[in-house]
């Protein structure tokens, strides 16, 4: 309870930006990488292995003064389907949404099959989501299935 309260306070303290919460701990650094935080000069706060009722252990990332586009949030949905995205504007939570996987992911995930055409031709990958819960994705070209937590994000 204590730590949840702290999280709330920290969210409120952000003047503007994005808070990504409820990231499974194991996926935290993948999300960091997808967001491109390594290359940012904005203020960033990262917490991990925080207790969570839903996830057992969760991670949270707060980034000042940025909002992320749909394509980036789709990538996060693959590795962290439980993540929520809070947009903060003027110290207020302007919107709070769960990341949502689209039915089809174009050029988001690399196919794990080395013999797939997508790994041998200059072209975009395409995966169809066959199970949104897992999530489980299937390569439109070679038919290989891949679980979200194992997916290599492009």
């Amino acid at each position: 309870m204590m730590s949840d309260k702290k999280t709330e306070l920290a969210v409120a303290a952000l003047a503007a930006g994005t808070v990504i919460d409820h990231i499974p701990s194991a996926a935290l650094f993948k999300v960091v990488h997808i967001l491109g935080i390594e290359h940012m000069s904005n203020g960033v706060t990262i917490g991990n292995n925080l207790p969570s009722r839903r996830l057992n252990r969760k991670g949270i990332i707060k980034i000042e003064s940025v909002e992320f586009d749909r394509a980036t949030l789709d990538r996060i949905a693959v590795v962290a389907p439980t993540a929520t995205v809070n947009i903060i504007r003027n110290y207020q939570v302007a919107s709070k949404t769960k990341v949502e996987l689209p039915e089809t992911l174009i050029n988001t995930v690399a196919c794990p099959n080395p013999k797939c055409i997508t790994n041998n031709e200059p072209m975009k990958t395409r995966f169809d989501v066959i199970d949104a819960e897992g999530p489980v994705l299937i390569c439109h070209y070679c038919g290989r299935t891949v679980c979200g937590d194992k997916a290599r994000i492009i």
Binding site: N113, K115, C116, I117, T118, N120, E121, P122, M123, C139, H140, Y141, C142, G143, R144, T145
Partner: protein, 306 residues
């Protein structure tokens, strides 16, 4: 004229499968025609496969069409580093239909996205080979007189064998009973068992290639068990002969039983089966010609009976 590609048997519904089989029946009775007069069909074999290429090229020739193409990627511009997209676009300038075989999985699907010319997939790596499945279906219907309600026993490598996976996908439209006979290591993948459950298709999984299973079958579909599929070589040595069919095992089988195999075989069917009238694998290969004539005309939107 309505043209379309054929990339995977899974893309076809029951009606489309039956239409192709009816076309194949027609071509068995009328093998030679001028239906492809003035048409050019390209056969692009980025990976050599003499058996499949000769069958497709014979099909085109017997339909009165002309063939261009290559039989080996080393003689094509691919060996100079040209992308598949560029090769397909170049050939599209010359051909009315492209039959392609490629070592990369998904190559045919991708080809359909870069050209308006219909594509027929003649095999893309370990992925899809719809003309093989169509000839299997044709052989089943021809020998049994129907596709509905048959007991189909698949034996050998059910894990990696693409022909058995495609056959499950195609037969799901026809209320089959499946027997899946293999070692545990080469068992039918769970996704196909789940699919059967979902569709209410009866199936049985066996590790024993027993007389009871053989005697209940209408079709025995045998496949190669390849050494390189095994992570444990001892396991291969243990199971390699367990899934070999010998003539004496057929003594009490149904009179109408037929034995299919996608060929080439190694040792999974003993040669003493060859003279049994229930052995159908050589005729099965011959049916490939009619199946491919059916596919070519359907993809070009040509009605043979007009």
């Amino acid at each position: 004229m309505d043209t379309h590609s054929l990339v995977a048997i899974d893309d076809l519904n029951r009606h489309e499968i039956l239409d192709l089989l009816d076309r194949a029946s027609y071509f068995e009775k009328n093998p030679n025609s001028h239906l492809l007069d003035g048409k050019v069909v390209a056969t692009l074999f980025f990976e050599p496969s003499t058996r499949t290429r000769l069958s497709f090229e014979t099909a085109v020739n017997r339909l009165g069409g002309r063939v261009i193409g290559f039989s080996d990627a080393s003689t094509s511009s691919t060996s100079k580093g040209e992308t598949l997209k560029d090769t397909i676009k170049m050939v599209s300038n010359y051909a009315d239909l492209i039959v392609m075989r490629h070592f990369l999985e998904g190559a045919a699907r991708y080809a359909t996205e870069v050209t308006q010319v219909p594509i027929v997939n003649a095999g893309d790596g370990a992925n899809q080979h719809p003309s093989q499945t169509l000839l299997d279906l044709y052989s089943i219907r021809k020998t049994q007189g129907r596709l509905e309600g048959l007991t189909i026993t698949m034996v050998g490598d059910l894990k990696y064998g693409r022909t058995v996976h495609s056959l499950v996908m195609a037969m799901r439209h026809f209320k089959p009973v499946f027997n899946f006979v293999s070692s545990r290591e080469l068992a039918m993948p769970q996704e196909y068992l789940d699919l059967c459950d979902e569709l209410g298709i009866e199936y049985h999984v066996y590790t024993d290639f027993s007389p009871e299973v053989i005697n209940s079958s209408d079709i025995l579909y045998m496949t190669r068990v390849q050494r390189e599929r095994f992570s444990d070589i001892m396991e291969y040595e243990r199971v390699k002969d367990l899934y070999t069919l010998r003539n004496d095992m057929l003594a009490d089988s149904k009179p109408t039983l037929r034995i299919l195999h996608p060929l080439p075989r190694v040792n999974e069917i003993n040669i003493d089966v060859d003279d049994n009238p229930k052995a159908y694998y050589f005729e099965q290969a011959h049916n490939g010609l009619f199946a491919r004539q059916a596919i070519i005309t359907a993809c070009l939107g040509i009605n043979p009976e007009k």
